[in-house]
Symmetry: D2
Subunit: 396 residues, 4 copies
């Protein structure tokens, strides 16, 4: 089962050779010091990628969804109130999860394509004079619409409102690819997954947890065992794990951090911005536009391309897979059919992006959409030509 | 990080080449039909390994602990009563998990080294005239003590008591290595993990769920999202997954089932019995005995070797790792120091077992224990010589 | 060392996952029956790919150059005469090898860009009334110029001249990618390498040897041991090898043949022709042309693109590697600088080809060559859209 | 094709994970600077392993046999005289190769089990007053009999005789495992292979060539192209290769040298001596002895175990493979049946050796040989217990 064409889904990403090899290892006794020697660098590396100060890193053999559940179940109790804006499938799912766990979610309904509305968040917090809101949930990068929210702005809104709620951020499709500043932004829990910016296979939920969130653990009564931070931290202290860890993925995570830092986090972010710029140049050349409502909201990791009226984005995704063996993302939920999504995160080069754009163009032509073959490619080529720099990641 | 010596921990096991290669794959779009084509054989294969009739297979990107949590949280509600015997670390942990989730666990305390006490279980069920007990929890193979419980016997006890509770079985360290008959034994939820009999890396909880347990989902009010069977089954129906699956492990699981069935499940069980027999012959030759209280309780996947008075099993495990690069299992909980454990499950040959036994002997001698070098090896050699058959798994 | 961009050198090719995994294996005793069980299918598979009747397949742990040397040293003696046309670097090198081994090479000097001149070959054979010419050497696909010669035509010329020389064919960069008919064309020795159409790493010379060539072994006095067919065939008969074989590559070769046959040889050839067509469409759109003198000579595996006057093909190759991390082939020998070469053989999809073409365009623009960005891509897209079929190789 | 049991053939050896991963790489353009960056460390590393001063390292995509042929064909001419002792299958084969290449081999017939006879070599050289002997050929470690010859002693003999012949050494099964001093011993060509001490798959001939041997190239008239040092050295100077190199194996070679040097060459030699000591302790305990005539001749990489009268070593090898899935080496040539061979070189630990010894014992008992099960194992255990040190190689 080995498609040789790169994938352009918004995660899991293409996996670098070096990471595949780090993950693929013979069995190592997870109760041995050898495991601790592998685990510690992974944990410390994540701390640096998240730009944490204090707090703890928690690594669970799970996924982003599990990361959300861990964040909520370790710090909150049934009946607690949380504040969240809903503007896409992934912000929706987190809200749904909270509701299933008996939380009272104060939802700020926001049009898809918009980001987290700072003013309405601030207003909601100001209105909460009783201080019932325990946490603000923010989706940093809404993968469904390709929208980036302003987490620093949310922190400013919270501070402006003088509200003491915790700030939980879904950074699954941003962390490791777009700037993230856990300490500077006052994030209390950041949730990442292995399969996006960290370029690993799926299978790890990676969390940064602030000291404030750790303190909240004690009073939290939502049931949890598999996700229990307390067991984790107790075991970590002895170099171990409360149950069998995903050793290979942890080895891969250590390698991932090493690769990100060898390239330089700023260079990694710049590379993603450059690739995103090429994709958006192509989209413009096609006479289309990203679904994100404003330029300031454009995600650097995924572009949801709004398709022309009368066209169906899902048709393109299906055709690309069937005819050309290339994977894009379909529109989800209320943008089903209205967009197709191009993931441009993780292990990716300009050259690979051009292959994806060329494929999309072929599909458009095949489907009878109005497009000049090569037009988007040319716009992206022009963008890439002018911005080419080191090929840090291409050559590992 | 690649120890070349085999491991003798009671899981994760040594991983066959073919499974490592199946797991190590480039990114595949998990929303594509290609994923469905890979997932379906894995699910169907698990069904055959578990010997299910009806019901559903659930595969979670998690571990055995997550499997337990999924079993409980999908079928029960806070305040529900479950019945469980405690006779080792893993039966204890499952009980602890239930308690953390607000269940009322009726515990049958049983000496470590014993298995599930059929008579006391039957008595407890008979005494439950109000029918409060919703589920009986049974640990098929208690990895801490190397004890196998009689699941068919528990079913008989339940039937004899005329009790309608569900039967949940922890088969993490038995399934795929020792006979397991989900339908015939009337098991309602069977929990397995990827890293034992399936010979994969850790990272999957694998559950068989009976129709009766599925029906219990509707009334269950314990919160769950990541583990929610309903989301899983809804997505499975469309060939998909409710969130990002661990694609490589699923590919590996399909391969694992293929390998188990190529060897033949009966042959797999016979191979494990043969290897266990060799280990026990060595233990006897050393003048020691398995911790399991009776011969009928001997596990075919792990032997907890009771060490002589004045000896400390943990010293042996530490020395084996430090001096010879070989991993055994330490005693856990109340048998800490009193035993060391030899895992003999999964990808393993007689020749590999001999290497482990020879290493244990060297450590005993190094530690000043009374042992004749080669004595256990000779007993195992004699056992293996007389029982050697096809080398189905050795040659993939 | 893991460039993620595909390579566009005319071999070694991009390697399919399944072949990498077949090659990467633990040590297997090459004197065991297990080796024979692996070796036999590889040998038989090569026989089918070459379309042999009778004769023997010889597989040497060597390269194409070693294959040439084996062909010559096993069948000829110092002072023997052979006939060869020289029209590129690889036909030149074979001639040079013959001369170093003391053969008298009757050279038909032919302009680079042309193929083997059937009329002059026939004339030379007719003129050899003494029958001194022992073998005709033909380069099926001249990798330096992207020129395919007509081997069937050479056979017709030989037959027309009524000459009994052997026919030796360098099929290193054609076999497995372009139609090859050893028996039908009366080829006496065909030389292939592992790293082209077979999509393996370099390290095997693969030869088909006719019964006539085998008979010539007896009188041949050129010294050889490593390459000696006699030792090979004697060992093969016992399922073995005269020295240590490259076991992993042989396992990979068996897999390669399996993949070629699963796709279907005719489909493999059609895929190569389709990809070549896309490349040539792009070249035309760029206002350039292949170096091959006539359309009938166009290679399906490599296109040597004649660059405009004042441009230097080597500059493009260097820039593509340095700025974009993409490998093309430089011009060799007398076409150095005059061409750059795009390999389009082995593991390759239309989507990958588009990435290569887009990269070449960026380089042209960067170098100030006159080219419209996207123009070649568009032409290739158009070609690929209209010719897309099964994605047999893309999905393994 | 994945036997999980270690192999005990005298090469190819068990391959470390890290080397398998280094070899298994995507295609890299071998004409790129990236190749040069990989090749250079491999070449320089080999120079250090061989303890060279001056001269050149030549790496051929071939095997040890090809290495011999390269040594001979690059430095000698038909009719030249060389001096060689014959005392095993591999010394015999080299002699045979020379004869096939038209050399006049002055053979010192020596009983198998003996090493190179220093006195007779010196006498032969003294007798060669005309200085016709161009080279002395010496097999450092005769793999067929497990005999190590004294290369330093041969150098002393040559110096004592005041003879100016070159000294060519077959170090295929010694280099990288046993002390080797190219400069100090005045070796002119040393031949190694990838699949022994370097722990790689077969596929590389690795040669150290002294300045004196390089000078001999000019007058040498034996034909060669594939093996021609001149082409190699010319290409090396530009960071390249005269034809397609085995890139993955070269990457693996660089890794191998890194591993050998991380462990420390002296430690590597000590590890081999320790493992050999354990094997010989077992052999003695079995009441048998190595075939090597004197203790001073014992090889540290392979032990040819002389089997008792009436026993057939080949039976044991066959049974071990068929019944237990373990590979030993059969006796070759005139010791066929009289010995079985245990390889103990390359990637190997004491624990793995014990598995091999235990297997051999089972086979002996199965075949009705007189042996106490566990007896050899116990002797080896005792040896290993007392000599255990760092586990440098075990833990990569």
């Amino acid at each position: 089962m080995s498609f040789q064409n790169p994938v352009f889904i918004p995660g899991p990403t293409n996996i670098p050779e070096a990471i595949r090899k780090a993950c693929d290892m013979p069995t190592l006794d997870h109760r041995s010091p050898a495991f601790a020697r592998m685990f510690r660098p992974a944990v410390e590396g994540v701390r640096r990628v998240l730009k944490m100060e204090g707090g703890e890193v928690i690594i669970l053999p799970s996924t982003g969804t599990g990361g959300w559940e861990a964040a909520v179940s370790n710090t909150l109790s049934a009946g607690d109130t949380v504040l969240a804006a809903r503007f896409g499938m992934f912000s929706h799912r987190w809200i749904d999860l909270c509701q299933r766990h008996g939380l009272n979610v104060q939802i700020i309904e926001t049009p898809w394509g918009e980001g987290a509305p700072l003013d309405r968040i601030e207003a909601a917090l100001r209105a909460d004079t009783a201080g019932k809101i325990r946490a603000v949930l923010a989706t940093h990068n809404e993968t469904a619409t390709g929208v980036r929210s302003d987490i620093a702005g949310i922190r400013r809104a919270m501070d402006a409102a003088g509200h003491g709620a915790m700030l939980f951020v879904d950074g699954v499709s941003s962390i490791g690819s777009m700037p993230f500043e856990m300490a500077a932004w006052g994030v209390d829990i950041a949730v990442a997954g292995s399969q996006k910016g960290f370029m690993l296979p799926a299978g790890l939920a990676i969390l940064g947890v602030s000291d404030k969130a750790l303190a909240a653990m004690e009073g939290a009564t939502l049931p949890r065992t598999f996700f229990d931070f307390r067991d984790m931290l107790k075991s970590y202290a002895g170099g171990g794990y409360p149950y069998t860890p995903a050793v290979g993925l942890i080895a891969g995570l250590a390698k991932s951090v090493e690769m990100l830092e060898d390239e330089g986090l700023e260079n990694v972010y710049a590379r993603h911005a450059r690739l995103a710029g090429g994709v958006r140049a192509a989209v413009t050349a096609w006479g289309m536009r990203p679904y994100a409502a404003h330029e300031s909201l454009y995600s650097e990791t995924v572009t949801a391309v709004k398709v022309p009226d009368g066209c169906n984005g899902t048709d393109l995704v299906k055709l690309a897979a069937d005819k050309y063996g290339v994977a894009f993302g379909v529109g989800l939920g209320e943008v089903a059919g209205k967009v197709f999504r191009i993931g441009h995160l993780g292990m990716l080069t300009d050259v690979m992006v051009l292959a994806g754009l060329a494929t999309a163009e072929m599909c458009m032509a095949d489907l009878g959409w109005k497009v000049a073959l090569g037009s988007g490619v040319a716009a992206a080529q022009q963008h890439f030509r002018g911005t080419a720099g080191a090929l840090a990641l291409a050559a590992e």
